[in-house]
């Protein structure tokens, strides 16, 4: 976490400033969840897992089209982070792997699944699809298909929080691939200059599509990416929901105190391919299996709940309820009608001219 000295031309400033003097966010502690809180995290993560498995199945059945990027493996990130937000004031924006973030908000799985099948009842009336989902009501601003675009947009959301002095913080998620896009750094610079309330959340799942982080990033410790803009960073075990929650508590303290943006790198892993059509030849099955066996966020929470005295029966009951919710969402998404043909022409412009 120590800052590395700024690399400035030797002639200009031979000695970089002694960085340790600069204030840093505190070292996060693992969150001490009550049994009820951890049960809720478990429930949300399991809901995302089962929802995504079902989405994958519906894709295989031909009911979901286009691109479909599943969140399986990464559940602890969205659940841990979003559990700490103030839903009345804080905003969230992400890229195209967005189903989990919406579910973590408690948005009705039926509306999300119906968007995936392209139906009128979907959250974007069937016009957006998997990559383009939004819920302004929940301050969830999408759902963006162009790698990195959401980072600048999120900085704009943070600009609004500061401008209106509404006390809100923006959580802008992006992946290790997007972390190399230029606009990310243009945004970080402005965010620090203007002390905008934004958390840059890098969901580092190790692979930008088929390219491992080490093959695309000269600095692969992505939490350091803000340092040259004086944006501090923290690296977090993204497979442990309580570590994630603990880390964002510190991050929020920093940002809410008006100290400007912060970078959080969540080390996570996606079990499935980049999208449904990814052959995933760039990693071994053993690697994927080892992550599932040793680091699964749901298994992890389950063991901890059992240690807290939650019976296997109680967990099975939750699992069963979730299967029911997901089955109903899938059913709803299949049965709902397609959009009215007139919808083709609606929402292009707001006004009439």
């Amino acid at each position: 976490m120590a800052r590395t000295p700024a690399k400035s031309p030797a002639a200009a400033k031979p000695k970089a400033d002694p960085i340790p003097n600069r204030e840093r966010p505190g070292e996060p502690d693992r969150y001490k969840a009550s049994k009820e809180e951890l049960l809720e995290f478990y429930r949300q993560m399991t809901l995302i897992r089962r929802f995504e498995e079902r989405a994958g199945q519906l894709y295989g059945l031909g009911l979901i089209g286009g691109f479909c990027h599943l969140y399986i493996g990464q559940e602890a990130v969205a659940v841990g982070l979003q559990s700490a937000l103030n839903n009345d004031t804080d905003s969230v924006i992400t890229g195209y792997r967005d189903h989990g973030h919406m579910l973590a908000y408690g948005i009705d799985p039926k509306l999300i699944m119906a968007e995936l099948t392209g139906r009128q009842a979907g959250i974007s009336k069937g016009k957006g699809g998997s990559m383009h989902m939004f819920s302004v009501e929940h301050k969830f601003y999408g759902g963006h298909g162009i790698v990195g675009a959401q980072v600048s947009l999120g900085t704009g959301l943070a600009f609004k929080h500061k401008y209106a002095n509404d006390g809100g913080v923006c959580l802008a998620y992006f992946g290790d691939g997007a972390a190399n896009q230029g606009q990310v750094y243009e945004s970080m610079n402005m965010a620090e200059l203007w002390k905008l309330p934004i958390i840059f959340v890098i969901e580092n799942n190790g692979y930008a599509m088929g390219t491992a982080v080490g093959r695309s990033s000269s600095e692969d410790q992505l939490y350091r990416r803000g340092e040259s803009f004086r944006v501090p960073g923290m690296q977090v075990d993204g497979m442990d929901v309580l570590a994630v929650r603990g880390a964002i508590e510190e991050a929020l303290k920093w940002v809410r105190a008006g100290k400007g943006p912060i970078v959080m790198e969540l080390k996570t892993y996606r079990y499935r391919g980049h999208s449904m059509s990814d052959p995933a030849k760039y990693r071994t099955r053993e690697e994927v299996q080892a992550m599932k066996d040793s680091s699964d966020c749901i298994d992890h929470a389950k063991r901890e709940l059992e240690a807290m005295g939650v019976s296997e029966g109680d967990l099975k009951k939750i699992d069963k309820d979730i299967r029911q919710i997901v089955a109903e969402a899938a059913d709803f998404a299949e049965q709902s009608p397609e959009p009215n043909p007139e919808e083709l022409y609606t929402d292009v412009l707001v006004g009439t001219y």
Partner: protein, 476 residues
Amino acid sequence: MAIELKMPALSPTMEEGTLAKWLVKEGDAVKSGDILAEIETDKATMEFEAVDEGTIAQILVPEGTDGVKVGAPIAMLAAEGEDASAAKPAPKAEEPKEEAPKEEAKPAVPDATTPHQMETAARQLVADVAAAEKAGVDARDPEIPEGTEMVKTTVREALRDAMAEEMRADDRVFVMGEEVAQYQGAYKVTQGLLDEFGDRRVIDTPITEYGFAGVGTGAAMAGLRPIVEFMTFNFAMQAIDHIINSAAKTNYMSGGQMRAPIVFRGPNGAAARVGAQHSQNYGPWYASVPGLIVIAPYSAADAKGLLKAAIRSEDPVVFLENELLYGQSFPVPKLDDFVLPIGKARIAKEGKDVTLVSYSIGVGVALEAAVKLAEEGIDAEVIDLRTLRPLDTETVLKSLAKTNRLVVVEEGWPTCSIASEISAVVMEQGFDDLDAPVLRVTNVDVPLPYAANLEKLALIKADDVVTAAKKVCYKA
């Protein structure tokens, strides 16, 4: 309570695949997320995962089986607590319609639907291309010498071959882009190039379009011959500044001293259900920029001959491919060095009653419309523009002088389109030849919707071309 596991569709257009490998055997207990099998198509290998928990009761399709239809039962899963031996297999593994014994469907699994192909208007576009090719209406290029052997080649292979040939011939040529090397191309267009040319010349970039478009342009200014692949041209919008401000204007601004011989290539236009941000035709955008060459081929032969010409050109070229055409096969001449001229349209089908002008996948739609029009006694001429800038107005005007009627078919928005440009050119230079106003058949003027039914309404259709052609012939 047995659950039938069915052959899934791994991509929107998949009809059948190979069951390459089973990773479980009969009697194995499986749970959600376990990988059961590997399935292959011509494009990809995919893992087939379990969604439900249970025990593999029977494997119905042995590994190594080719041509397994989407929806065919491939195994039986006995649900939790059920005796695996009690799970009866479906009577026939080949027929997806056969109902397996599902006496008491598990309430949590209501969707025992048979997999079917995803609904998408893209399939109709592809079908038009395939039908036109099958009907043999597409005339052969006069550039190809009489008697040349023709080899059925996909557009994907033709593009790869063009790059490989030019790379063999000229060490200055290299390819860079996202997933072009180790992954063999996001759409497999660069397949095999890394193996042959190594990582000095086939270069994986980070996801940094603006950066690598600039790096490529700089390398071109310094004398190399870069081919920059965009995963799709939608992502090239991140890089459009370098394409236009850096590459297109260099030669002019330097008074002819400094050139930018670079090819920007990748898929353009609508694909299957990928929604508004991934479905745009940039033909008209780039074609409006002086200093650029813009090519948008339809057939595999044109893709090959024109990409080779583009790589050799001293000017920056925007080379617009089409994802839906990648898998389509066309005859390609078997010649050592097949290069086509830039800026020349091709008469894809001769006719005398009406001229249909198009480019890229729109040519397939226009050819299919020509087949339908022939059934109604209208003999349509189809022109494939191939190059959008510079536009071969001569070929268009010559055809108009013959037919006196013209319809432009464009898979893209109508406003400020290639169709608009053709209309203007025809009015300015061919006014006296016109017996009817020029009509435009284009996509609907909205961002492309995701929903299957709306997508169908938004994209061009051969029937709309037929209607327009009849209208200009006053036979509506």
